[in-house]
Amino acid sequence: MNPTARYFRNIGKGFSTVLVGMKVTMRHLFTPAVTIQYPDARMSIPERGRNRLYVNMDDCIGCDQCAMACPVDCITIETAKSLSTEDLGVTSTGQKKRLWVTQFDIDFGKCCYCGLCVPPCPTECIYMTSVFEFSDYDRKNLIYSFITLTPGEVAQKVKQAQQAEREAAAKKAAASAAAAAQKAAQAAQKPAPTPEEATQKPAASTAQQSTSSDSPGKQEDKKMESREAKPGQEPTSSAGDNPHESKTD
């Protein structure tokens, strides 16, 4: 196309496309707006909407699954073993609760609202609500604490759990000391198979069994100790119900 023709064609196209564009915007001038006036009107959040989490402590068994599933480590859970005499009740799914949950904090400043903590929960006590308007002026106020025990109760539960542990450990030590003493006494005697030995062996084996059955408890205690010793945890919230003193006990 020669330059003159192209020149005029460009001018023509310029005008025609501008007019077409103007027609589009003029049409839109008279279409109703698609926006609503928040906060007077609000869009509805769908049922599966992933917003702020909520934990129903009645159903929480303190299994720590949600905390382990969280990719940003925003859930902090501490538990204390309950005594065999205490009855914590049953969750709505029928599971018997055995642990006192002494700390259940979720830091919503860190939470990325991914929802990975929801499926692993065996009792479905943690779930995402439709609340999304919960901003605060202070970042510390975004750390929500869900436990239902008062600080006094928490301190008491932790103390009694540690005490029970100590007693169990002491008993174990005594039992193993007794077994060791018996063994030493046996070794000192002649290793001739006597009817006494035959009766002692099962006793020794039961002593062994008791030590082996204690070990998961020991492991759990080790876990508790390692959790307690976790460095760099932010001093938790204004709710102020986390007794640090209990950790140093």
Partner: protein, 372 residues
């Protein structure tokens, strides 16, 4: 007569700039108004995605993948879960594949709408941006009813999906598919063929095909230069072989082949092709359980895998090395925007400062992808 010596000025299109699509710093060396060199400085949005991935298990890496290219979140997840599934050597139910493809294509439409809208905004047309976002809302509502989130979904899990689609999803998708072509027509009337827009973008930032291939460009940047390369057809994955669609290439319609207008138009036409894919797939979704193949514990055997997919911005690949434990040993994301951005100095020499905006916009970068 001696040459008049003019000094070159160094201008900073600084990290905070309305048109650099995020925190990108471009150091421009200009001679008057003509750009002599454009050096991008990145890293302002680096969030150590790959380092984080080494400390998480495979399931927990998915939310991090979302946040790489935050506008095309579904596609990020798609490539990652395909990689993990290849490593684990598991076969997902066909229903999962179909839903994943539908979500990926819807996400492609949404991502291109953002690209087109913000491109118009950079060039000075304020209105198409609003129209694009109005249509984006329809798709985001679909996503929200399915998985609960509007931008960062965490929807595709290794082995399946987090939720099955709700009962009215197919119907609502069909409604969207029916009314979206009107928006594309409106966009074309208002922006694409507008003479001023064409004059701003045609013959600007010309990227020859061989240069594009040498720089490992991919996606609309590559296809805008006339190279017919789309991973959905050339290295197919998932159920793309069963679907009928065309690869859109630039043809130098308004100017030179490989200019900004071509890249822009490739995106507009790709939206139409995505609509075709969605239309076909949504009728064919087979029955099944989307969570049937999700492994209880993901512990792949020792090995490495590289899987790539066609994200809206180009070839998105994940290279995963597994050492047999629950956490990956290394996850590397091959980000399309990072590679495409490296083209910037090459295609901006000799153009004006105002053209820089058009060029950066046409490459369509997302800084989350560039910096990870």
């Amino acid at each position: 007569m001696a040459e008049l010596h003019t000094e070159e000025m160094v201008l900073n299109m600084g990290p905070q700039h309305p048109s650099t699509h995020g925190v990108l710093r471009v150091e421009l060396v200009v001679d008057g108004e003509v750009v002599v060199d454009a050096i991008p400085h990145i890293g302002y949005l680096h969030r150590c995605f790959e380092k984080h991935a080494e400390a998480m298990n495979y399931q927990q890496v998915v939310p991090y993948c979302d946040r790489m290219d935050y506008i095309a979140s579904m596609n990020n997840d798609h490539a990652y879960v395909l990689a993990v599934e290849k490593l684990l050597n598991i076969q997902v139910p066909e229903r999962v594949e179909y839903i994943r493809v539908i979500m990926a294509e819807l996400q492609r439409i949404v991502s291109h709408l953002v690209a087109i809208g913000t491109y118009g905004l950079d060039i000075g047309a304020f209105t198409p941006f609003l129209y694009c976002f109005r249509d984006r809302e329809m798709v985001l509502d679909l996503f929200e009813t399915t998985c609960g989130a509007r931008l960062l979904y965490n929807y595709m899990w290794p082995g399946g999906l987090s939720h099955d689609i709700p009962a009215d999803f197919v119907e609502k998708t069909k409604v969207f598919v029916k009314q979206f072509p009107k928006t594309i027509k409106e966009l074309n009337d208002l922006l694409s063929y507008n003479e001023i827009f064409v004059k701003r973008t045609a013959n600007v930032g010309v990227l020859p095909a061989d240069v594009a291939i040498n720089y490992a460009a991919s996606g609309p940047v590559l296809r805008g230069s006339g190279v017919k390369w789309d991973l959905r057809k050339d290295a197919p994955y998932s159920i793309y072989p069963n679907l009928d669609f065309d690869i859109v290439v630039g043809a130098g319609e308004m100017g030179t082949l490989g200019d900004c207008w071509d890249r822009y138009m490739v995106r507009v036409r790709e939206m139409e092709q995505s609509l075709r894919i969605i239309e076909q797939a949504v009728d064919k979704i087979p029955e099944g359980n989307v969570q049937a193949a999700i492994p209880k514990r993901i512990r792949p055997p020792v090995g490495e895998v590289y899987v790539r997919s066609e994200a809206p911005r180009g070839e998105l690949g994940y290279y995963i090395i597994s050492d047999g434990s629950q956490n990956p040993f290394r996850v590397k994301g091959r980000a399309p925007s990072f590679v495409n951005l490296s083209l910037l100095p090459e295609i901006s020499r000799g153009y004006l400062i105002a053209d820089m905006i058009a060029i950066i916009g046409s490459i369509d970068i997302v800084l989350g992808d560039v910096d990870r």
